[in-house]
Symmetry: C2
């Protein structure tokens, strides 16, 4: 009999990943057993192994999926001005991470629990993302529009600042997400744009 859309394994894989993401974010990777993930999904512990060989693979795949979705969603704006590209990056980073607080938390917190080979693969994806911002900063510096002493350091500073929004922003609070994006874009712009009279 051919597998139909919505068959058991089609549905359970995403449910396993969603349960693992939630439990790892709540309790930490080391404190969550495969048995507990199975119980959250509502399957026998043994059945989990149809979907993942082990907990390490599950963690790695969650972090890999997060980074690959981030890279795939990053706006391609190669024809735009460096100012528009930088603004696009800032607004995108805030919106994307705001929607995934558990994945952001795990991406930072559970790096220590990746085995060395998996750590290297996640680091490579992270560097690809950082390079996207660094390229914008480098292009703007070459054009004399930005004044950035060290594009690598500025990249790390901007990303840390933008990711920090996930730790405090809540919808329905004093500011809309759009207002937060506006303010962060203003701060990043001032950090990197060359002053009109050459002063900085």
């Amino acid at each position: 009999m051919p597998r139909t859309i919505g068959s058991h394994s089609d549905i359970t894989g995403p449910r396993v990943r969603a349960a693992a993401l939630k439990l790892f974010a709540e309790h930490g990777f080391a404190a969550v057993s495969m048995r507990r993930i199975a119980s959250e999904v509502g399957v026998q512990a043994g059945a989990l192994y149809n979907y993942t060989p082990d907990k390490q693979t599950l963690l790695f795949e969650l972090m890999q999926t997060h980074m690959e979705e981030l890279l795939a969603a990053l706006p391609q704006q190669s024809d735009a001005s460096v100012m528009d590209r930088l603004e696009g990056f800032v607004r995108f980073h805030i919106a994307f991470h705001h929607e995934r607080p558990d994945a952001v938390f795990i991406a930072y917190m559970e790096l220590r629990n990746l085995d060395p080979a998996n750590f290297s693969r996640i680091e490579a994806l992270r560097r690809r993302y950082e390079t996207a911002l660094e390229d914008i900063l480098g292009a703007g510096s070459d054009q004399g529009i930005f004044d950035v002493a060290d594009t690598k350091i500025t990249t790390l500073a901007v990303i840390a600042m933008l990711t920090g929004v996930t730790t405090w922003f809540r919808p329905g609070g004093r500011l809309s997400l759009r207002a937060v994006q506006d303010q962060y874009w203003d701060m990043v712009r001032r950090m990197v744009v060359r002053a009109p009279d050459g002063s900085v």
Copy 2:
């Protein structure tokens, strides 16, 4: 017999806290048992309870100590100019956190494991620290030296950016800590200082 300096309990308390800090940072609070902390210190599990009533109290005291040391070490510079006060804050924050990566990691990661009363007490200490920076930004804005649309948001952005240094800076790398402080001070200054001709 009077207790002598260096008696058993004088030494073991700090060793219990150091072991808990190390193990919580390495494995996460939920994955570390009191028995494991005792084993790391080299005492019987029961002996731990001479130093702390439970694991929750141990976690809370680690986070409280971190925040109290941070507040106590924060330079008092009320007579200095707002520029000097802001520069002092930036350099201090980077240096203080650089020396305590485990405490910084736990302060962020294990907030979820504090019970509500302890969470409120840590949050209050954290707000006191944020207020120190917000006051500098507010004073600079009042004096027309800074141009900050929202001192609260700028405070959170600056602190996230500076704390991020702990995730990548390693002594002996491409840049000295002093060079990193210089670069971050330059970025923060540009983010907040009013442009001389009124443009931003």
